[in-house]
Symmetry: C2
Subunit: 256 residues, 2 copies
């Protein structure tokens, strides 16, 4: 275990051409044409490699990130070095809530869990747009509430459910954010996310593979039977999905 992805900084990050990439993030796509036009010039496409760190715990945030193909994990790191994931943001979310909530900082690390692209927006621009109210503010606040549900459910699930159930939940959440059935992810990294031992993940994953729900080889997990996973997962998964839909479904299409 220990100190995964540490201090890799933004080395792998690349700033790419400005395009309409923003529209591939569902929250941005939800904005009315007028509001989107207002912020469009503030959007800057970037791309991330696995393990890139968007910010460290305590860092003053500079940007809000709207993932398009990347998946970002919000990780808490204990003094001991043990880690646990508290939330995930993909193309239906954003990273950097503290910027518009007023705190400027959070006590977690945002790390790239699946390489890909995002668009980012400078903190000042976010605050300006947020202060105007409108759909932008509404969407940001509703997303924040949905993230709270996600974190709450993580807390509950950590308390009450088995590692195998949590692994199912984690796989489904990630699958939701991806355009593919293949997750590039080792058992060891998953263990860091779930806050359990690497062996614990292997032991939980074994039966799932045995029942034909997933298949994995050396760092790649393939989702074979999504309905099967949905049948094996605890209620926590659906609660979060439903709450997201309730809060943002008016604006945002479902991924799956």
């Amino acid at each position: 275990m220990l100190l995964i992805f540490q201090q890799q900084g933004e080395m792998g990050m690349t700033v790419t051409e400005n395009t309409d990439a923003g529209l591939r993030n569902h929250l941005l796509a939800a904005l009315p044409r007028k509001e989107f036009a207002r912020i469009e010039s503030d959007l800057e496409p970037v791309s991330f490699a696995l393990g890139d760190v968007l910010y460290e715990s305590g860092d003053k945030l500079t940007h809000v990130y709207f993932p398009t193909t990347a998946i970002i994990s919000l990780l808490y790191i204990m003094q001991s070095g043990a880690t646990a994931e508290i939330g995930i943001a993909g193309n239906n979310g954003l990273v950097g809530i503290a910027l518009f909530m007023g705190g400027e900082t959070t006590s977690n690390r945002a790390v790239v869990q699946s390489a890909g692209a995002a668009v980012r927006m400078k903190g000042g621009a976010v605050k300006t747009a947020f202060a105007l109210g409108g759909v932008f503010q509404n969407v940001l606040l509703r997303y924040t509430q949905s993230l709270m549900t996600q974190i709450s459910q993580t807390a509950v699930c950590n308390r009450l459910h088995s590692v195998e159930q949590q692994l199912c939940r984690w796989l489904l959440i990630n699958h939701d954010q991806l355009q593919t059935d293949k997750l590039v992810m080792t058992h060891d990294l998953i263990a860091n996310m779930l806050g359990v031992r690497r062996e614990g993940v292997s032991i939980a994953a074994g039966p799932l593979q045995g029942h034909g729900l997933i298949k994995y080889v050396r760092g790649t997990i393939t989702i074979l039977d999504r309905p099967g996973l949905e049948a094996a997962v605890c209620e926590c998964y659906q609660v979060v999905v439903d709450e997201y839909d309730r809060l943002l479904g008016e604006y945002v299409p479902r991924n799956r």
Copy 2:
């Protein structure tokens, strides 16, 4: 275990005379005189008995509550009936975030953990005041962020720490919100909050009493040695306190 406090509705709630009680909630007290004056007539003192339910999971919220002497617990209830606390709000917080975040509802139950008073404000009035921006909006959003930290830390603590450590944390958090060293609370209720067995709480509490940190008899726990508890608790407690201070310390005095 199971279904504690269920469906007691607001039976024990009493609407009392309108006073300056609002100022005993730290978030309200933090408002500039002008902003407080603007909302003062919307504040309605209420008092709660142990076990009163402010709202059920899924209920459309009608008010935001600012506790003054009451302590409100945010509980998640599984389909199985198992419960787990995800957050606590006392006189340095508020209950009903979903009203200004846009969701109108949350997937948890708000239940009175310690009898006492609060002031409440109708949803419409909250939204109106929130939309004006100013310190009111700022404080509400910052509090929301601090609550996210609290929930996150609950998630992490549930994953990584022992029942005894979590009990210490729970005792300290509650002590912070109280004007007394006596907590009216049975092991069974604490077990519901922590999401563990009643026996688990007794087994964890035994050594704490043995070392003279607390004393308990039939439904009342007395904090004897707060520094001792602070020495026994995991880092999670302080992280939440510090983050609250960072976010709101500019406005709000420390309880202890």
